[in-house]
């Protein structure tokens, strides 16, 4: 017996010389909705869009209809069309509308190709569709690399002696030195709205001893970090959050700029060559409606995941996952005796320090951080709660 089925139907017609009319319907075991769009043939931009829910899960789902207008003007052939649909329509309206809109948009593009073929046949009556489409595909393209695969760029200059002139960090006291190991800033991370100076100011305000800048696939230059340290008189360490096929990894000590997706084992080799360390970020982040527990996964089973053999530590407190998911990660870390860390995963200023990591040795730079993480001389803490700041 099937446990789930989804059907989507799309029809594209030519409304007039300048316009395609696209109608899409999505119906599955949970949802039923439809979308109609009109697309201008001149620029393949969405000129009109309407949607309607027929079957939903919450009584508020039809609120999504009004926000479909966010897609007006989107051009189907823009490189970021899919990303915009996911991020804008998917978030402001509904992800199921976004899914159906992508289906409609792709169908409209296919229809426009068919129309282009028909037009081409005016000059070449025997032109077959297959040949026409292949001819378009083989047209010279820019020598762009295949997007999405990892590229290790040139390493930035090695850290200079400037690092030794950084303001002295607060030495680890009896309570240790507390550092937020997982922070995103704008514009280094496109998903963050937190300017780096404001993030540091907030971190100081709430009494943290330092932060790590771990923007997505972004290497902060040593002199940039040093300038921040000097400007704020605060410990600012450089890290990177890199996506592998096994999920996101927080990496410290790696100067190489890695874009796209990299295999975890290859990243491990890079990190080892650089003398760095790697933490698996939010390893048990669940889904919107259910968590890993609902799939039947136990901490004992999770402990056997091969990816955990390739990391130096596990992030057991992350500000973007549920309490249950953090607790699950903590059980796994304890079970396999891996060091456990905390980080806010802040994307907004107010999120800094929600979780952090307490170190019992003084951390002055990335080398100290790496040594402490590898030795396990650290502890994840719910910092804001501890300070009564939530």
């Amino acid at each position: 017996m099937l446990s789930f089925e989804r059907n989507k139907l799309v029809h594209v017609g030519r409304k007039d010389e300048a316009t395609l009319h696209v109608r899409g319907v999505l119906s599955d075991d949970i949802y039923s909705l439809e979308i109609e769009i009109e697309v201008g043939l001149a620029d393949l931009a969405i000129d009109r869009i309407e949607g309607k829910w027929h079957r939903w899960t919450t009584p508020e789902c039809p609120r999504a209809d009004a926000f479909l207008r966010e897609a007006l003007g989107f051009r189907l052939e823009d490189a970021d069309f899919s990303q915009k649909v996911h991020k804008i329509v998917g978030r402001k309206s509904c992800r199921h509308y976004a899914n159906l809109l992508l289906e409609c948009a792709h169908s409209a593009k296919e229809a426009s190709r068919l129309l282009a073929w028909e037009a081409a046949k005016a000059d070449e009556a025997d032109l077959k569709l297959d040949a026409f489409l292949k001819g378009r595909a083989e047209a010279p393209r820019s020598a762009a690399r295949e997007p999405g695969r990892a590229e290790a760029g040139e390493a930035p200059p090695k850290p200079s002696a400037l690092e030794s002139k950084a303001p002295s960090p607060r030495p680890a006291s009896g309570n240790g030195q507390v550092i937020d190991l997982h922070v995103h800033t704008h514009p280094a991370s496109s998903c963050s709205s937190a300017p780096v100076d404001e993030v540091i100011q907030e971190a100081r305000r709430i009494g943290l001893d330092g932060i790590c800048l771990t923007d997505h696939n972004h290497v902060w230059a040593p002199d940039q970090a040093e300038a921040l340290r000097q400007r704020h008189g605060f410990l600012v360490l450089r890290g990177n959050e890199i996506t592998t096929e096994q999920g996101d990894m927080l990496v410290f000590g790696l100067e190489k700029d890695i874009k796209g997706i990299i295999l975890q084992r290859k990243l491990r080799q890079e990190v080892d060559a650089a003398g760095g360390c790697m933490i698996v970020a939010h390893p048990f982040r669940g889904f919107l409606v259910f968590g890993v527990g609902e799939t039947g996964l136990t901490p004992e089973q999770a402990m056997d995941r091969p990816l955990l053999k390739l990391v130096d530590a596990i992030e057991i407190m992350n500000g973007k996952v549920t309490v249950q998911e953090n607790e699950f990660a903590a059980k796994v870390a304890a079970g396999i005796h891996l060091p456990a860390t905390g980080g806010s995963d802040a994307h907004e200023v107010v999120e800094v320090g929600k979780y952090a990591t307490r170190f019992f040795d003084t951390i002055r730079n990335e080398q100290d951080l790496i040594a402490a993480l590898k030795s396990g001389a650290c502890q994840a803490v719910a910092y804001r709660k501890e300070k009564g700041l939530t």
Binding site: G13, D28, T58, L129, F132, Q246, V289
Partner: protein, 165 residues
């Protein structure tokens, strides 16, 4: 409305529980230009993709010359948050493999929605009860807050719930 039909598409994604440890999700595409199928096997409870199969029976113009070879790169990936970025990155966004990668994503969505369906079946009927039920879900999983229009500020689903900080 009188208009000239140009293109039509029919896509079906179905999920089957093969045995206690395996779920199989199949995406079938039939449209004016393409007839294709992509299937993934996912191992429970980790939701790890353990097998991928594909077949492009009919296609026109640019098509992934070796769709199956490219798709094997997703073996080992777990169905979960962030998977779309990983699948796109591994399979590549070049047009000739774009449809195959999209069909893998659709298969993965099917797996997730099969679990979502199970969870939602536990929701009570009746509008007031439903609002309370979903509000409780948001309190337990604050990622839901403002995740879409239904859970955005102003919705009864999040009434009385503080925005996440």
């Amino acid at each position: 409305m009188a208009e000239r039909p140009i293109f039509s598409r029919n896509r079906c994604t179905s999920v089957l529980k093969v045995d206690d440890r395996t779920m199989r999700s199949t995406c079938r595409l039939q449209d004016t230009l393409t007839d294709a199928e992509v299937e993934i096997d996912v191992r429970l409870p980790d939701l790890e993709i353990v097998a991928v199969r594909s077949g492009f029976k009919r296609t026109m113009g640019d098509v992934c010359r070796e769709p199956n070879e490219a798709l094997q790169k997703v073996i080992g990936v777990r169905v979960g948050p962030g998977m779309l970025k990983i699948i796109k990155g591994l399979v590549g966004e070049s047009s000739d493999c774009g449809q195959a990668a999209f069909m893998v994503e659709e298969c993965c969505h099917g797996i997730i929605l099969s679990f979502t369906k199970e969870t939602l079946m536990q929701a009570p009927l009746g509008e007031e009860l439903t609002a309370d039920h979903y509000g409780e879900m948001v309190r337990k999983n604050i990622r839901l807050y403002n995740r879409c229009a239904a859970f955005a500020p102003g919705s009864s689903m999040v009434e009385g719930i503080e925005p996440p900080q």
